[in-house]
Each structure stands twice: as C-alpha cells, then as structure tokens.
Amino acid sequence: MTDAAELRRRTAELLAANPPGATDRLDFLRARFDAGLAWVHFPEGLGGLDAPRALQAVVDAELEAAGAPGNDPGRIGIGLGMAAPTILRYGTDEQRRRFLRPLWTGEEVWCQLFSEPGAGSDLAALATRAVRDDGGDWIVDGQKVWTSSAHLARWAILIARTDPDVPKHRGISYFVCDMTDPGVEVRPLRQITGEAEFNEVFLTGVRIPDAHRLGEVGEGWRVAQTTLMNERVAIGGVRTPREGGGTPAEGRGSMIGVAAAGWRARPELRTHDLHRRLLTLWVEAEVARLTGERLRQQLTKGQPGPEGSGMKLAFARLAQQISGWEVEFLAEDGLAYDDWTLRRPEGVDFTGREAGYRYLRAKGNSIEGGTSEVLLNIVAERVLGLPPEPRTDKDVAWKDLPR
C-alpha cells in the first residue's frame, strides 16, 4: 500500500521534473496525472496509485505549497464527481484510458444527460429512446433538461430507454454521448434569477457507437445509481468554519455568514423580530455545520452514516429561510435586484451576487438533485425502514404507463 511518505517522495519527484514556474499549466497537469498523483485512490495508470483516498490531502498540500497549478474542480465538477467514478467502475479498459485523463486535466468538460421534462423526480420514467441500427450503433432521440455545462461540454453521460416493453427501471441503458454530434442541440434555459445556469438539450438522431456504452444493455439504472450516489456523497474533506469562515465583517463563506455580516454592518435596519429570527437561523446553521462536520469525521474514520441523505434537506431549507430573511432585513435595498441580464455562468455561486439573487436561486435547492419530498421518502424507507409507498408502476411495461 502506498503511504504518505511514498506520496511525498513521488510529489517531490514530479515537482523536480516539472518546476511549476517553468512548466505550462496543461503539461504540468498531464504529468501529475501520469505520475498517479491526480486522484491517488484511482488505479495505477489511471491517474492514481491505489492509495487510500484520505492521502490525497497529503499530495494536495505539497503541491499547493510549491505553487503548482491545479485543475479547475468548479468547471469540471460533473466529470470529477459523477462521470469519473462511473467510468472507473463500469467502463472498459479502453474507455477508462480514453476518457479519464482529459476529464481530470479539464481538457474535456463533461455534462450529465439524465433529467427530462416529463420525468422530473421520477427519473426512471425517462422517454429518450436509444434504438440499435443494423451496424450496432445506437440512434438516440429525445429531450433532456437542467443540464449544466452542456454548452461547454465535450462529452455527456446519458441514460436512455433501450427497451420500452419491460418495466421502467429495467429498460434503460447508459452511454457516453459525444456533444459535438450534429444531432445534439443545446439551448440555454433561462431561470427565475434571469441567468441561464442550465440548458435544454435536444437529441435528434444522435449516433452513439456501442463502444460508448457503460455497463450491459438494460442495466443502465444500476449504473446510474453509482453516478447518483457519488453526486450525493459530495461532502468535502475539509472542515467548514463557523459562519463559513472569513472575518465576521466579510462573512462571505456561507449564507448565514453573509446574513450575520449584514446585521453587524447595518445597525439602523435592526428590529426585534428580525433579531429573534436571525438567532434561530444562526443556531440552525451552526448545528447544520456541526452535523456536516460529524459526518466528515465519520467518513474519515471509514464509518459513513446515512446522515448524508439528510444534509441536502437541511441545506435547502436553511438557504431558503436565510436568504428570505436577508431580503426582508435589507428593507429598501431588498426591493432592488442587482441585474436581470441573461448570463451563462460556468459554475454556481450560492452566496455570490446580491440578496435577491440568493433568495431566488435558493428556491432551486429543494428541487435540484432530488426534491425534498422525494428525499424525505427515501429517508423514511431506507433509513427508518418504514413501509414503501404503494407502487402501481412496478411491474408494468414502460410503454403501458400512463403519461
């Protein structure tokens, strides 16, 4: 097993051969990947060294101290968090070699073609069809939605229906879709904030070679579970400081940090009612932070608990309440909005921009990545073991389901 000392030695070697000041950024990232120091828990030859995941922090700290360039996790988050673990687990050797390196260096951005306008939280009800032609390629037709980064992406992970004659979870297959295919059309989807953080993606006769399938035909739902699990486990290895860090005056790190900084800076706006509610929210935000910290400590010790499924619920509710409080606190300033210009940001910044933006953007927190209502059902059934909802669609062929 590769230990911390060995990783330090290899990191020093990498730095010696590629001095950060004198090496092109992309060349450095490629060299780092080839040295197995990109994600150390991945296999050798695929950017890793089969080392314990926790030791990544050792490498990152050494490289940061040396001023080495990093990849851009904000821009390639879907690739790192969703595509990579799925390709690693279900991909062929050829797929892993082709996709993982440019994914990690950021040369190729990935997006995710899962959600559909007609499916929503009932993801497995998706209607995008993939039909095999005589040559063995797949021809894909359908529409996807809520696709962030689609306008930047070179590749997408895609789930599509390959057999409408079996119940909905069984007739799905999982593919890697080439976003440069002429049948792929990406349109910005403008949201209530005025910006277009997501896209609609129209797929018309898109040709996907069978070599770009991940997992067996009809096993797409199981493959997608790996992707979705990694989406929800995206809790960092770093502890979050109270109020999100920064100085109390800045308070830019978290929603409550911003609200508290506003309270400290604007004594003329304070009322007793707002004070009472701010303290309640402050306590809840601090407890949510501690709950996340406890989960992080469990993960570090190798004892993951089911608490992760709850964190998103708490985060969504708090973000909505705090941002709503903030608009109210700001009084006249809360009536103004910073900018309605249509923009296409590369990433999401939940605490960026102004209070009105935060208030509107937070409305999505209880919808995206699973609505709070669906997550509560999941907690009730999988964590508490309560009896499942009656399922009328379970044994019915997808084509016979009411739509």
């Binding site: 502890r239 400081p241 109270r242 109020e243 860090g245 100085t247 109390p248 508290a260 309270w263 400290r264 004594p267 304070r270 009322t271 007793h272 004070h275 009472r276 701010l278 303290l279 309640t280 402050w282 306590v283 809840e284 601090e286 407890v287 949510a288 501690l290 709950t291 910290e293 406890r294 400590q297 469990q298 010790k301 608490e307 709850g310 619920l313 708490a314 209502e373 509560l376 059902n377 907690v379 009730a380 059934e381 964590v383 508490l384 073991g385 309560l386 009896p387 499942p388 909802e389 009656p390």
Partner: protein, 381 residues
C-alpha cells in the same frame, strides 16, 4: 467573539470506551428500568429509585465520572457523562444523575478541592453513596442565575427560600448560593439539619421531583466566597445545560424509534399507517432533527470536556437546538401513536413530560439564544 481560527477541532464521534460505557448503562436500564417500572416508581412517591441509583452510580461507577481520580472519582470527562445522560434520557430514568453527578459535582469542583470542606462532600458524591443538589430553581440559566434568595449571617446560618429545586427532596447535601456578610458565597447544608425544610411540589415531570426549599437559620459551611462562588455556580449551570442536551437527545431518540416501530406495525385503511406519506415525512424530518441534535450535543460535551473557550457558545447552541427537538419528538410520538398515545399506561407521556420540563430546565431556548447574541456579536437592536 470566538473567531474561526482559534476554535479547536471538536471530536463529535464516540470513542470505543464511551460505547462500552453506553453498553453497560443501557444493559442496566433494560434490566431495571423498563417503562412500567418507571411508571410504578413515579407513583410511589419516592424521590428516586435507590436500587437503580446504587447500580448506576456505585456499581458502574458513573457518579464520579467528572471527578479526578485523586479526588475519589473516575477521572473521565463531560464526554462520558454525556453518554450516560443519553441513555438515561432514552429510559426517562428516575435517578438524580444530572442534578447530583453533574451539577452538584461541577459546583464543588469549581470551589477549592484542596480544602477538606470541599474534598469531603466531593468524594462522597463521586462515590455515589449519597446525592447532592445545587439549590437553585431548575429553570436557572448559566450566566443568569441572578442574586441569591438566601442570606447568610456571619456564623453561617442561612435564611431564605429557593423555589423548584430539582431532586432536592432526596438529596443529603444541599449546595446553597447565599448572600453572605462579605458578598456572594456558596454553602454546604445537610438536608437533615435543623431549620431546613423541603416542601415537595407536584411536578409536571413525574420522574424528576421538585421541592421548594426553606431555610430558617440553618447551619451552613462555607465552600467558596465572592467571585469564586459565583463562578462555581455558573460553571455548574453551564455544564448542566450542556449535558442536558445529551439527555434531550436520548429522549428524542426513544420517541422516534418507538414511533417508527408503532407506525410500521399499526394497520389502518388496509395499510400500515407508516406507509402514508404524510406520516413518513414527519418521521423523516424528525430523524434529521435527531441527527442534528446529536452533533450539537456532542459538540457541547466535547467543548466542556476540553475546557474550550468556545464552551459557552457550544452549550447555548446545543440547548437552543436540542430542547425543542426533544419536545417536538415527544409531541410527534403522542400524535402518531393515536389514541394509545394519550393513555396513562403507554410510556409516551413520561417522555413528553420530561421533554417539556427539560425545555425549561437550565435556561429556556430563548434565554440561550439571548446569551448567544452577545457571545457571537449579533447585538439586539
């Protein structure tokens, strides 16, 4: 205020030793303290269950967890005491652990334990042979206990009244904050001494008896005076409030577990009632609250154990959060049990009464939020 940089890393998990202690306490309570026994005991008029106390405090040795070994205790910390309280909360156990082994012991530790007047009672409480109570009203909050209502003369004779003191009736030793000839002081008074009278109050929470104490020239031995006395009382209330969060966590856990069990079994309209989404969402929401309460309670226990400067914030956060969670869990437990939840023989009411009483104990959530406003620089208008 405490800034992010000087805050220590709290350990929010349970150690193997803590889990072993939990297993011992849980086994004892399963054996000796089932809900029927608690209910029977509550109606017996005894201030607490002496056999259960002896097994918990003496045989397992939990009474002295907070007391250093050289003073006759186990030399453990608030982290271990918190685990004991989680289990006691889960069983609504009728024992004076919080009041004697946590609050009274902490008050004595805040005095000068090198003095025999302090070391003697401390060793006795740590041993668990008798119990003690700090003579303040149960709702007294840390930092807000106010001026003593008892006066002491130069000879140490105490006169005055203190209302609603928890577990005072069964305690052999009373620790009485009083206004002495030279300012505030803390006195030790034997409960059986002449001039001491305890009038039992019919309590909302049958498992934690209350008494009004009246002192009429009762003989007191001074334990500490001045700022030291005030600080000892305040530290005792802070420790009590911080660890009460773990008792509240235990209450909430029992209520959630029983509610899930009941609704999964109980059938109505041809389905287990726990399969109805309206009920499931309420239980899932409660599960989130319980998990969050655990993080808050552990953080308070860890801050108290490490002597962190952040302890006042950690305690206020834990009380402001955990007290309502316990009440919410108990109220949901009653409602989701339906009619059976309103009966005397079902134990749910014991948990509701304890949870509601605990919400007032050692400072209400509102008082703790008020305290936070000053601690974290969020001043009122």
């Amino acid at each position: 205020m405490t800034t992010a940089t000087d805050m220590p890393d709290p350990d929010l998990l349970y150690s193997d030793e803590e889990e072993a202690l939990r297993a011992a306490v849980r086994a004892l309570l399963a054996d000796r303290c089932d809900p029927a026994a608690v209910l029977a005991g509550a109606e017996s008029g005894r201030p607490y269950d002496p056999e259960l106390w002896r097994a918990l405090a003496v045989d397992i040795g939990t009474a002295g967890l907070l007391v250093p070994e050289k003073l006759g205790g186990q030399g453990a910390s608030a982290r271990e005491a918190a685990v004991v309280l989680e289990e006691l909360g889960r069983a609504v156990a009728p024992v004076p652990y919080l009041t004697s082994a946590v609050v009274a012991v902490s008050a004595l530790l805040g005095c000068d334990p090198s003095r025999e007047e302090v070391a003697g009672p401390l060793a006795a409480l740590a041993e668990g042979s008798g119990t003690g109570a700090l003579a303040v009203p149960l709702p007294a909050a840390p930092g807000g206990s106010g001026a003593p209502t008892v006066r002491a003369d130069a000879a140490g004779a105490l006169t005055g009244r203190v209302g609603s003191v928890a577990d005072a009736a069964g305690a052999g030793l009373l620790l009485v904050p009083a206004e002495g000839p030279d300012g505030p002081a803390l006195y030790a008074v034997d409960a059986g001494a002449p001039g001491v009278r305890a009038e039992a109050v019919t309590p909302l929470d049958l498992t934690r008896p209350l008494a009004h104490l009246a002192f009429d020239r009762a003989p007191g031995r001074p334990l500490a005076t001045g700022e030291r006395a005030r600080a000892a009382v305040d530290r005792a209330l802070l420790t009590g409030a911080g660890l009460l969060a773990s008792e509240q966590l235990g209450i909430a856990e029992w209520c959630l577990t029983e509610t899930v069990r009941h609704t999964a079994e109980r059938t109505q309209f041809g389905r287990p009632v726990g399969s109805f989404q309206a009920l499931k969402h309420r239980m899932a929401a409660l599960w989130l609250e319980v998990g969050s309460a655990r993080a808050a309670a552990r953080n308070a226990a860890d801050a108290l154990a490490s002597g962190s400067s952040d302890a006042p914030v950690a305690v206020a956060v834990a009380q402001a959060y955990c007290a309502p969670v316990a009440v919410h869990a108990a109220e949901e437990c009653i409602q989701l049990h339906g009619g059976i939840g309103m009966t005397w023989e079902h134990p749910a009411h014991l948990f509701l009464k304890r949870a509601k009483s605990d919400e007032l104990a050692l400072g209400t959530p509102g008082r703790h939020r008020d305290a936070l406003a000053a601690l974290v620089d969020l001043a009122a208008p």
